[in-house]
């Protein structure tokens, strides 16, 4: 038993670069120490924001030298993070969790809001293994689309990547929900795998669409998390006791079929059930 490793080798790192992605989201980069692992697409870090809290954040970038975390300011810790500057310190544990697995020949990737964060490295991984990829980026409005310009740039030089946009207000692309856009998309093309991350209401609908079309699916789930490493039980799912931190955050459709709370309810910071999903 290696507790140092299980707890994700707690360490402090300096922010090396800050990139504003859109009007809300910011990506913080830090240098990967030579002895620490790179993050696979879908894996996350526990991020200690000094004086505030420690929160889980998916890696939106990972190469030999740098790791990137994309943050949307929704609470005290994330608001503090988006104001950080190069040279500021954060604590890091991880990477944790099971990553997306690259399968099939033609993938559809659906990202809602900041849910695009773990899907960015996935798109690169899919393209690196010669897949056809359609990425569907959804947001409330065009100014909140995440990694849209970057995906367009890749698509310009790589015909295997197609991009699709859905905005709730119709300011760009499909006017409406990601899930309605996906339904329309599946009338024109097929896929042998669907990946998704975003609000759970969206993911639950994506899951049902995939089920109807009999397309295998992999989703990245979010639950309240305190330890990130299988100790506290905060992120346990009903009724199987799957832990989002260890057994997820990426789950396949067949596992999700046994999770009664998926799309229905979650738990708050005390562990109490709340009839609310993000």
């Amino acid at each position: 038993m290696d507790i140092e490793l299980s707890t994700g080798r707690p360490r402090s790192v300096a922010i090396s670069r800050v990139v504003r992605e859109n009007i809300r989201d910011v990506t913080l980069f830090f240098r990967r120490q030579p002895d620490s692992p790179t993050a696979a697409p879908g894996q996350f870090f526990m991020v200690w924001v000094p004086d505030v809290d420690e929160i889980p954040l998916s890696a939106s970038w990972s190469d030999d030298e740098h790791i990137g975390l994309t943050v949307r300011p929704v609470g005290e810790a994330t608001q503090r993070l988006v104001r950080m500057r190069p040279g500021d310190y954060i604590g890091i544990r991880g990477p944790f969790g099971r990553s997306f697995s690259v399968t099939g020949d033609a993938a559809i990737v659906v990202g809602g809001g900041v849910g695009m964060a773990p899907l960015r490295p996935l798109v690169y991984a899919l393209l690196a293994s010669l897949k056809q990829v359609t990425v569907l980026i959804a947001a409330r409005t065009r100014d909140e689309l995440l990694f849209h310009d970057e995906m367009l740039r890749i698509a310009e030089s790589d015909s295997r990547l197609r991009t699709q946009v859905a905005t709730d207000d119709g300011s760009l692309g499909f006017h409406g929900l990601a899930t309605d856009c996906l339904t329309a998309l599946l009338e024109q093309q097929t896929a042998d795998v669907i990946y998704a991350c975003g609000p759970e209401r969206m993911m639950y609908e994506v899951y049902r669409i995939a089920l109807r079309h009999e397309i295998p699916i992999q989703l990245s789930l979010e639950r309240y998390m305190k330890c990130g490493c299988g100790l506290c039980g905060s992120c346990a799912l009903d009724p199987t006791g799957h832990l989002v931190c260890l057994d997820g955050p990426v789950f396949t459709g067949s596992t999700l079929a046994s999770i009664v709370e998926f799309g229905k309810y979650s738990r708050d910071a005390t562990g109490a059930r709340i009839d609310e999903i993000r």
Partner: protein, 289 residues
């Protein structure tokens, strides 16, 4: 209830029925819930855990949904037939007793009274024999099921606290809770845990637990439930020899949920190969000189 076997220690994974059932199905004979109080409690801000010298330091801070919400989980454990002990805490003996009497509605095998969380305000109870006596007595008077008192190694004299618990009617004592500890990040030059102070668990506390169990066994007549740093069958044998009738495993689940069955099988093999007929035969054997 019979005090034997390998149990999930309180505080680890124990906040929902679903995950407690999974731990039981993975091999834990009994599961002890997270400590439950009268009202919902968020606990401390993160980081709530870090590692140190082969061990774990946590300051979760008694996070729990309160006994009313938790009763739903307990009833589900009952429906599923998962043997469980309910861990409770309170800011006063009366409050602990009222949480326990609410909890027994769900028919736990026993109440484990957390008197010793080292990073929350109840941490001081098990430092003091008189206070410990009052808590145990109040809970004993309130419930019909067995009551266990969980003791702290941070007390200057754990055996006098254990004797007070026994005098008050405790049916067993549980030793030990975590050891008060701190880590400081040398890059940021500040304590790591959100609560600054936490409790050390895992392999580094094992010899402290063995010493506490040994001393308690020598001076009490109620059974001792040993807990602290057990991750292998060799550890478990040592703790039985010190005087533990049953053993709880907490941090050891980081080595996999099969830790309970691995430990049990190893101890059984040891018992057979050394010519004993039952694990109970080796409990406290190291007391002879």
């Amino acid at each position: 209830m019979e005090i034997k076997g390998y149990w999930l220690a309180s505080g680890i994974l124990g906040v929902t029925a679903s995950v407690l059932r999974r731990v039981h199905e993975s091999g834990a004979d009994v599961v002890v819930t997270k400590s439950i109080g009268p009202v919902p409690r968020v606990g401390h801000p993160g980081p709530i855990c870090t590692s140190s010298h082969g061990g774990l330091i946590n300051a979760v801070g008694l996070t729990n949904p309160g006994i009313d919400a938790f009763l739903d989980e307990l009833h589900r454990l009952g429906e599923w037939g998962v043997p469980f002990v309910l861990s409770v805490f309170g800011r006063s003996p009366q409050e602990a007793a009222s949480v326990a009497s609410r909890g027994v509605e769900a028919k736990p095998l026993a109440i484990e009274l957390n008197l010793s969380c080292p990073h929350a305000e109840i941490g001081q109870v098990a430092h003091d024999p008189d206070l410990t006596f009052q808590y145990v007595r109040a809970v004993k008077d309130a419930v019909d099921c067995p009551v266990f008192a969980k003791l702290t190694p941070n007390a200057s004299d754990i055996t006098s606290v254990g004797r007070a618990a026994e005098r008050a009617g405790a049916d067993a004592v549980v030793a030990i809770n975590t050891v008060r500890a701190m880590r400081i990040d040398i890059v940021q030059r500040r304590p790591i845990l959100g609560n600054l102070v936490g409790g050390l668990s895992g392999p580094p506390v094992f010899p402290i637990a063995v010493r506490a169990v040994y001393d308690l066994y020598a001076s009490l007549s109620v059974p001792i439930i040993g807990v602290g740093g057990v991750t292998t069958w060799q550890d478990a044998v040592e703790m039985h020899l010190a005087g533990a009738s049953a053993i709880e495993i907490g941090t050891g689940v980081l080595s996999g949920l099969d830790v309970f069955s691995r430990v049990r099988e190893g101890v059984m093999t040891y018992v057979q190969e050394t010519g004993f007929s039952d694990i109970a035969d080796i409990v406290g054997l190291a007391q002879r000189r």
